[in-house]
Structure formats: C-alpha cells, structure tokens
Amino acid sequence: MEVFQLQGVSKTYENDGETFRALEDVSLTIEEGEIFGIIGMSGAGKSTLVRTLNRLEDVSEGSVRFYGQDLATLSRRDIRNIRQQIAMIFQSFNLLGQRSVLANVMQPLKIAGVPRHLRKEKALEMLRIVGLEDKQRAYPSRLSGGQRQRVAIARALAANPKVLLCDEATSALDPKMTGEILDLLKEINRTRKLTIVIITHEMSVVEKICNRVAIIDQGRLAEVGEVAEIFRNPTSNAARKLVFPSNPFDPSSKNNKLIRLVFDGLAASRPFIAELVEKTGKTVNILSANTKSVGGIGYGQMVVEVPGDEAEQQTIINFFRQGGLSVQEVNAL
C-alpha cells in the first residue's frame, strides 16, 4: 500500500519579487514498510520535499496524498491529527532543553491526549527501545549528540506514528554514532513495520539502510529506484556523481579511458584483473577500489584506467562485460 503519493509537486517561493522554484514536478510514491531515501546535494530541494509530506510546507502545484488523502484539502485541525501519525526527527534534534528526557518523550503523548498515568509508562517503554532508560531524568544538554538523537527517536515513536521522517538526522553525528543511529532505525523498521523516509546528502547512509532512493537535483527528481540497481547502474548525472568515487581522476594520457567496474558478491570471487592479463594479454591500471554493502548485498567497485587505442580498449571492456560486470565510463561525467 502507498503511504505517500506525490503527483507533480512543485514549490515556488517569492522573494523580493523574484521567484525561486525549490521543487519542480516531482512525482513519486513511498510504499508501506520500506525505508525510502531522498538524496541530493545541499540546496537541491530535498528538505522542502520532506516538509511537503506533513504539510510543514504547502505545495504550489500538484498534490501530496497520505494513505490516499490529499493533504491540501485538510482543515487545520485535521492536518494536526494527521501530523500525529507522521513523526519527524531533525539534524539539530530539536529537543526541549528545559525539560527532562522523560518529559520530552511524553510530549507527543500529551498532544495526542493520552491520559497522564499511561504517558509515563509508554515513554519509558520508548526509552527502553532506544537504550536510554537510565537517562530519563537527565536533561538534553548533558547528553551526547547520538544520545540526543536517540531521545528524539523515542519521542518520535511515542505516539505510534505510521511514518518516520528523518531530515538529515545523522548529519551532525560522527561516523560511529551515525552507524548506531542507522542500525537503530533499521531495527525499528523491521520490528515495528514502520515506514521510514530518510533525507540525506550522504550516499553511505542510503547504501546502508535504504531499500529505494529518489535522487533530487535542482528541485527535480533525477532518478528513483532500488538502491542496489542505482548503485550498479546510475543513469542520471546526479546519480553518477553520488555513486562514483568523489575524488576526480585524470587519465595519465589523453587517449586513456577511465572505467568503473561494479561487481556483486558472486563476481567478486573471480580474479578478473589477473584473468584479463592471462586471456587478452592486456593490462589496466587500478586507480581506486573498494567494497561496500548496498541494500544488504556486498558490492565491489573499482575505477581502472584503460590504455591503448579504441580497439584495445573495447577488447578490455568487452572482457569485463562478458564476465558479468557492470562497466561505465567515468569520463562521461
């Protein structure tokens, strides 16, 4: 079932007579139970996009449907009730500094009208889930960034929402804490069947936990699909920029080609480079290589420099293609 259905969503800002289009004709659906990533460079419009999902931002054109209901048609009171089902966490945590951890987590329950004696029970249960039960009396200023985001997650989950929106939720955290928060989100997605929408500018976040991803570039939807598929075969320029190694390479000679090879778990066990030399007598220069887990499957990617003339290069590329590897030219960027 679709949780969110966006149809031709555009958002225009008027600023001193100048119009700025933050979103342009974005259409996508987010399915129940999935972890959906929205990735883009800063200023691409992804934060605006996620804010249309709970109508923190009104859309200028198009429609956003939540379980089939057009958000734009709802009254103020109705949108408040809907928002209780769409929890959100933020880059800057946004906890109440003057309230204890427990009081923070109890806040959405109070808004939802849960009776006082049940609020504490429920809030403590949430703190147990995020592993911070012992911090219930502490104040946010005493906690680390990772702990604060855990409290924010506990707060977000307290009123049993159907969706969790994460707006750059790990961008203020170091890599270790980022890993822990992502593991927690994945766990929550699995155990509570919670749909999660993750906004990020980091491909590593998407690779680690998202099932599907939308790539936003200058307010437009550049590409949307399975994370593993986009990693293997990015078709849009924006996707290539995110997937390919970030440090630019220059071929050592103008005629040489740079290609990116992607191999999944199975292909990774074959010694391709050695076989290349053995079978074709040609060599390549490895510029970068790494392996990572994308959507739970191990992937290796390698950027190699292919020397020689057109025909020789084609022989090498064909060799890799026949071996079942995904081959792309890096120069195309």
Binding site: L56, R83, Q84, F90, N94, Q107
Partner: protein
C-alpha cells in the same frame, strides 16, 4: 537624622516595595500576553496576523517613547477614575503599570524570539496547535531568558516608582525629592538613593540567580 525621618524612610521602603510589587504583577498580567501576541503574530510565525501586529506595534512604540514623567501627568484623569485619587501609593500603581506594560511586552517578545525555530518546527510536526506550542514549548523553553528580563523590568519599575514621587506618589522617591532635594537634606537624599540602589541590586541579583538555577 531625626527619628521622624528614620520612620518616614521606613514607611518609604515599604511603599516603594508595594508599588514595585503590584505594578510588576499588573504589568506582567497585561504585558506577558501582549508580548506573546507580538511574537506570535509576526510574519511567518505561528499566528501570523498583520493587523494585530501593526496595531500592537504602534501602541507599544508610543508607550515606550513617551517619557515616563509625561505619562504620569497624562494619566492623572485615568488614575483618578480608577482609584478615586491621583496621589499616593495606590494611585501611582496605575501609571507605573501602564508605563511598564510596553517594556514588558517587548522584553517577552525578545525572549521568545531566542527560542530556536527548530523547536517550533518539531512541535508543529507533532501536531501541536499554536496555543499548545506557546504554552508547552515556547514559554518553558524561554523561561530562563524571561526570568532575566523580569529582573530588568522590575528594577526599571522600581526606578519609575521613585519618579512617581514628583506627582505625589509615595515611597523613597518622594522622600528623596521632598526632604533631600527641596529641603537640602543631603543625608536623607544619600540614604534614600543608597537604599534604592541596594534594592535594584537585590532584584537584579536574585533574578540572575533564579535564571541560572533554572537554566538546564
């Protein structure tokens, strides 16, 4: 100093405290909601309303730009209507309150503006109504800053209460003026001034301590 003078100063202290206390309470009863409105009705805020914003802004700016001494005189008819008299401690509470309301409102507005937009966004995303956000997010979050503001405002009201002596209000200000200034009793002047300074220091000091204590 004569025992009569000492007794008069004792009464003056009590009258000053009375005027300051009641004027502060009334000024906050009116000024706090006005400050909240001033904050919340501004453009882009949770109760954005240009009409209310402009009207409130004009009244508060007029109130703040009038010299307090002029306000004292202007308000004599109103004071007489409300309290039946235009002189004395009770009567001076009226102009003190009215003079302090705009100052309180601006101070409250400024304290609320310090609360991060993120907190409001988080509250909105939880489905909280604007009034819920004000009561349960904005005011608690701004409390330490509101406390500091209150200390400054109460000290200002105390200073104003001394001015009320000019139009026949009671308190230390009246004593300083009548005995110290008009009758050249320098010892009375310096004693009352010292007492006023001490009271301001006490108010500011306890405000600071309180704000520090509640800030998490």
């Amino acid at each position: 100093m004569s025992s009569y003078m000492i007794e008069a100063i004792g009464t003056g202290i009590i009258e000053t405290l009375e005027m300051t206390f009641f004027s502060s309470i009334f000024a906050y009863l009116i000024g706090l909601p006005l400050g909240v409105l001033l904050y919340a009705t501004a453009e882009g805020r949770i109760l954005a309303n240009r009409g209310i914003q402009v009207v409130l802004g004009v009244f508060i700016n007029i109130g703040r730009s009038l010299p307090f001494l002029i306000l004292l005189v202007l308000l004599i008819p109103l004071t007489r209507m409300l309290t039946g008299s235009s002189i004395g401690t009770v009567a001076s509470i009226v102009p003190l309150t009215i003079g302090a309301v705009p100052i309180v409102a601006r101070m409250v507005e400024s304290s609320l503006s310090e609360v991060s937009e993120g907190i409001i966004e988080a509250a909105t995303s939880m489905g909280a109504s604007p009034w819920y956000i004000i009561l349960h997010f904005l005011l608690p979050e701004a409390m330490p800053s509101l406390m500091l503001g209150a200390a400054i405002n109460v000290a200002t009201i105390l200073g104003y209460s001394a001015m009320a002596g000019v139009i026949g209000g009671g308190g230390l200000g009246a004593i300083a003026l009548q005995y110290g200034y008009y009758r050249y009793q320098k010892d009375v002047l310096w004693t009352t001034v010292t007492l006023l300074v001490l009271m301001v220091m006490l108010i500011q000091g306890s405000g600071n301590r309180l704000a520090k204590k509640i800030r998490r």
